[in-house]
Amino acid sequence: MDFGFTEDQEALRKSAREVLGDKSTAADFRRIMATDDAFDESLWKTVGELGWLGVAIPEADGGLGLGWVEQSILLEETGRAILPAPYLSAVALAVPVLLAADKGGIRDALLAALAAGETRVTLAAIEEEGRWDAPSLQTTAEKSGDGWRISGAKVFVPDAHVAHELIVLARTGAGTTLFAVPASEARITQLATLDASRRLCEVVLDGVVVGADRVLGAKGEGWSVLQRALDRAAVAFAAEETGIAQQVLDMTVDYARQREQFGKPIGSFQANSHKLSEMLLLTESARSSTYYAAWALDEGTPDAPLAAASARVAGIEAGRYATAEGIQIHGGIGFTWEHDLHLYFKRAKWDELYLGDGTVWRERVASLLAG
């Protein structure tokens, strides 16, 4: 029994932290989030060159051939640094769907191009209601010659405005199917988003025709592929939230040690120190839950889906509590635009609400407990 990291994994974390400390500072975040599309070509190039996009993609598909533990390590670090790049959508949403789909054809080509940093891919699954399920799906794909004609509106698609390819879930007859759709074929509108570094978009597909070669996985199996991918997505999000929570904890402990009121550091007041202890407990629990679930997914253990759902819940709790109480303990200054805390608060909120919130994932835990 060993719940520790290997030397290679520690080295991966260390080097990621160094690079991010240099290239993904709060100043970089503010600069990038204020641009038209919150995208910095040079930063993205760095991410690609470091192999961070392909860390969990098999070597045969152009990746580093490592696993979800390594991917989680990178996401914990990019969470800490609130990396302002379309990284989460690539590795937490697109990659898991592509990995879960049957091998061959466009799936393989997309994985390789994604891993190399050449093609940016995002997932266009949820619609107006924001629900992650098959019954609410209204986007349809009908046979059109050898290909498919896709019509519908995907809402809340992360980073679609800078994507080259969209993975679209559409209703095909009685079932659902996943398609790779060139982003240029869709009408994409950026939506002003709480986390301005990670923009959600509306994606309208108005009778877009794609060839049969653009079906991902088996026809009619779209939702079940997505469901499997959601386990990995859940853990990826939890890893990012762990990083966010840890960074806010570190910042707030520092502040509480230095800031004095009534002649004492405010960290000596138990109302504050007890919250910080609670913050540590939730962060450590999120960390433990995340890495166990990542390992379980890599090993394919029977409890992997339950572990993934538990990690998601733990991550949400840690992110919420840390960012909320982090602001509280900082007092007035924590509420300012100038202070970086709101950037973390908003990213944690994005992570909480985008993939199905705590209620949704607790329900998933309960259904898996029912056995």
Binding site: D2, P265, Q270, Y292, V365
Partner: protein
């Protein structure tokens, strides 16, 4: 990273599990109560464990233990809880007094006491807390004054588990009232049958008298019953508390898992709005939350164990274990009582009680989880000051 047992660990787990399957006595309550016959049954169980070599698993072989590794101790704790076995009656002897004597005692003390601890022939209790010294244990006031080759002990201890059954007591006394409070304490071994020792049951809100008050009036204790040096008792006590907390967390985490399984099972049986309670979305939310917390408890323990195995030093995760166990346990039992509804109000033995009133008992008992063995408030202070490095609150 690997959560599977190694072949050797798997073999050990199988051995332990099969032994428990064959030997756990049925019909013996898992909670220490004053039901007639229960104590005799527990003494018998202790003897059975000892005869099979399971008592004092972590003790060095030269003192009658198995010298089990940390991971073996963890496996044993987990399987003990999984088997829902009755507790080891001499848990304080085996978990606290014994290791203290092994680490700090003289040869004569080891010869005199260790064997009888393992066999359960002598049951031990712990005399630490006082009415005026709970969280602030170092302010204890039970005195021990030298008189010839003895100490004369006067004072009062409280929350003495098994005081009414105990033969011996590990007692913290003040031997130097002029020294700073941590520096004037001595660790004594006291024969509970000595004249002047009086044990009175302390009834808890559960209705049971699991604990006692113990009064010491001019109790004579031979000088050779000092563990370590006179006035060095605080250091001795701290090393035993640390030692004890090690694998206890795994047993508690496994117990919590078993309790949650039982709670899910209960929710499937109990009706709510014409359907099994487990189909109610709010019930599902609460039980799912409990699962997330209880599995985090186990996983945090594993990280702490790995840390100790790699570095010899427990990481921050260790301090968090007791805090999470106590708070998540209370929450789960509150949720279970809600599921039970009015039936949850019906006590043990009466018609319409849920699961024989077990949940009501556990819910009441759980109010002490966040108080005993370190209150949640003290633990948060410890975490804040020693783990996060925040300035002291004083």
């Amino acid at each position: 990273m690997d959560f599977r047992d190694t072949p050797a660990e798997g073999a050990f787990r199988k051995e332990v599990r099969e032994w428990f399957e064959a030997n756990v006595p049925t019909g013996v309550s898992r909670e220490i109560t004053d039901e007639p016959g229960q104590i005799d049954a527990l003494r018998e169980w202790q003897r059975t464990l000892h005869a099979a070599g399971w008592a004092g698993l972590s003790w060095p072989k030269e003192y009658g233990g198995r010298g089990a590794s940390l991971i073996e101790q963890v496996i044993f704790s987990q399987e003990f809880a999984r088997a829902k076995a009755p507790p080891m009656l001499n848990v304080i002897g085996i978990g606290m007094a014994g290791p203290t004597i092994i680490a700090h005692g003289t040869e004569a003390q080891k010869q005199r006491h260790l064997d009888k601890i393992l066999s359960g022939d002598e049951i031990w209790c712990q005399g630490f807390s006082e009415p005026g010294a709970g969280s602030d244990l170092a302010s204890l006031r039970t005195t021990a004054i030298t008189d010839g080759d003895s100490f004369v002990v006067n004072g009062q201890k409280v929350w003495t588990t098994l005081g009414h059954l105990a033969d011996w007591c590990i007692l913290l006394v003040r031997t130097d009232p002029t020294a700073p409070k941590h520096a004037g304490i001595t660790y004594l071994l006291v024969d509970m049958h000595t004249p002047g020792v009086e044990v009175r049951p302390l009834r808890q809100m559960t209705g049971q008298a699991e604990f006692n008050e113990t009064f010491f009036t001019d109790v004579r204790v031979p000088r050779e019953n000092v563990i370590g040096e006179i006035n060095d008792g605080w250091r001795v006590a701290m090393t035993t508390l640390l030692h004890e907390r090690g694998t206890l967390g795994f047993a508690l985490a496994t117990q919590a898992e078993m309790m949650l399984r039982d709670a899910v099972d209960m929710a499937k049986r109990v009706q709510r709005n014409g359907k099994p309670a487990f189909e109610d979305p709010v019930v599902r939310q609460k039980l799912a939350q409990a699962h997330v917390e209880i599995s985090a408890l186990r996983l945090n323990n594993y990280r702490a164990l790995t840390s100790v195995m790699r570095t010899g030093v427990p990481g921050p995760e260790g301090s968090l274990g007791k805090l999470l166990w106590s708070e998540s346990g209370k929450r789960l039992l509150e949720a279970v009582m809600e599921i039970a509804g009015p039936a949850g109000l019906v006590s043990s033995g009466a018609e319409h009680a849920v699961d024989g009133g077990r949940w009501q008992y556990l819910h009441l008992r759980s109010r002490a989880y966040s108080i005993e063995a370190g209150t949640s408030e003290i633990l948060r202070n410890i975490i804040a000051e020693r783990v996060l490095g925040l300035p002291k609150h004083k």
